[in-house]
């Protein structure tokens, strides 16, 4: 087994590229990230691990914009992310320069995934250790989109997805609770998914919302706290309703 994981360019007998698998492990160790697509809003959320006291947290941007209508969040090796994000930003402007049109979300996702794939098929390099969640609105059609890429270079579109730590739990939650939402409801769904695996509170979550009209907006900590409070209240109300329903049936019997 160990003989087939040294170089990226070597398949194992059972058809695995071990370096890619190991890169996916790196992703699984990265911070949790979630993306939700609504009818008129797309939301990206990232777990914020506790900030060291002396660090200037403003310099750690986990959700970045690639263009005025595209944003990206990722899980995994942040240094690798810098490289990919830089290349993607250049491609966004290059596309605008050559064809006088902004990129579609699918185009830039395909580009990023293509880059990630290139590094699984070259000698002397290793794959990028990150998965990305890319959101945006297509120019002209104004349709919202959410895509995910991974270290192997595959990509696909999603209604909602999660990556990074505990992504399986978040994805399960989203599968159970997803419905077509818009505006605030989309934001709440994203926050609820993150709260499944992250300690409660605005300090530990970073949320960015994109609409076609207003572009990307990072939510303030106070705003996130408000949403969290709303969600906790709804949860408590739901619990109370369940308990209340149970009590009434036992009383009547």
């Amino acid at each position: 087994m160990a003989r087939y994981d040294r170089a990226i360019t070597v398949f194992s007998p059972d058809g695995n590229l071990f370096q890619v698998e190991y890169a996916l492990e790196a992703v699984r160790k990265g911070n949790a990230a979630v993306g939700v697509r609504g009818s008129d809003t797309v939301v990206l959320g990232v777990e914020k691990k506790s900030t060291p006291k002396l660090q200037d947290s403003r310099t750690v941007r986990k959700i970045v914009s690639l263009d005025t209508h595209i944003a990206l969040a990722c899980a995994g090796l942040k240094a690798d992310a810098r490289v990919l994000i830089n290349r993607a930003r250049i491609e966004c402007q290059s596309h605008r320069l050559t064809v006088e049109d902004p990129v579609t979300v699918e185009y830039i996702t395909r580009y990023i995934a293509g880059l990630q794939q290139k590094y699984t098929q070259s000698g002397g390099v290793r794959p990028f250790g990150l998965s990305t969640l890319i959101v945006g609105f297509d120019p002209y059609s104004e349709k919202p989109a959410l895509y995910q890429t991974d270290p192997s270079g595959t990509f696909s579109a999603w209604k909602a997805n999660a990556t990074g730590r505990n992504s399986n739990s978040m994805r399960e939650f989203l599968e159970k609770n997803y419905k077509e939402t818009s505006g605030k409801e989309t934001i709440k769904l994203a926050i609820r998914a993150l709260l499944e695996v992250v300690e409660s509170g605005g300090k530990n979550i970073e949320i960015a919302v994109m609409t076609h009209k207003d572009g990307l907006r990072q939510l303030e900590e106070a705003e996130i706290d408000e949403y969290v409070a709303e969600i906790e209240a709804e949860k408590a109300a739901a619990e109370a309703a369940k308990k209340g329903g149970g009590a009434s049936t036992s009383a009547s019997s």
Binding site: L66, N86, R89, C92, Q93, L97
Partner: protein
């Protein structure tokens, strides 16, 4: 004969340009916008070889945008001017761009500023400037009538006087002009001065 000219007033800068696209004796169109809005607070008025003009100014614009995405803040006007001059200088002794540029911008804390950058990468920071045959008339007008801290009304009056001078005294004078302004509220179109209206516009 292409003209681009502009001046800096109190808290704003204006760039005006003719709007004719000409090939030898044929006028392709009379509503070609030669003053590009580089970003929220910058204007780039350019004249020269049409292909070079579009190619070079769009290249500068996309690089200015790229800087903003990479760094989260926009380039200053001075930095943009120096970048532009650098690109012209690098290309000069290989395949030069034949483009003359007036770059105007507004920076918070600094105020309005204007840069003269010609096709052989000369750069000057100026309060008033002009390119083309029209410059013979505009520069004289501005030397006579310009003073620092002009109001918008005064500045537009001066721009209009320059346009009238070009129209009356230049043998193949461009009929139409576009005037754009940049101040703390951003870069935007101010007005068109048309003496020949494009026929297709009224047809539609």
């Amino acid at each position: 004969m292409e003209c681009v000219f502009g001046l800096v007033g109190k808290g704003f800068a204006i760039v005006a340009a003719d709007t004719s696209a000409v090939n030898s004796i044929l006028v392709h169109k009379s509503n070609e916008d030669k003053v590009m809005v580089l970003d929220s607070h910058k204007l780039l008025g350019a004249s020269g070889e049409p292909g070079d003009r579009v190619q070079f100014t769009e290249y500068i614009q996309k690089n200015v945008h790229l800087y903003q995405f990479r760094n989260g803040i926009p380039l200053t006007t001075a930095a943009t001017a120096n970048f532009t001059r650098g690109e012209l200088a690098t290309a000069l002794r290989k395949n030069p761009y034949s483009v003359n540029i007036l770059l105007a911008g507004y920076d918070k804390g600094v105020g309005p500023s204007m840069y003269y950058i010609d096709y052989i990468a000369t750069m000057h920071k100026i309060e008033k400037g002009a390119f083309g045959y029209g410059s013979y008339f505009c520069l004289s007008m501005m030397d006579r009538l310009y003073h620092p801290d002009m109001s918008i009304e005064e500045a537009i009056e001066l721009i209009d006087k320059c346009i009238i001078e070009i129209r009356t005294r230049l043998v193949v004078a461009p009929p139409n002009f576009v005037i754009k302004i940049v101040d703390e509220d951003g870069a935007r179109e101010y007005a068109w001065r048309e003496s020949i209206k494009s026929p297709d516009v009224s047809m539609a």
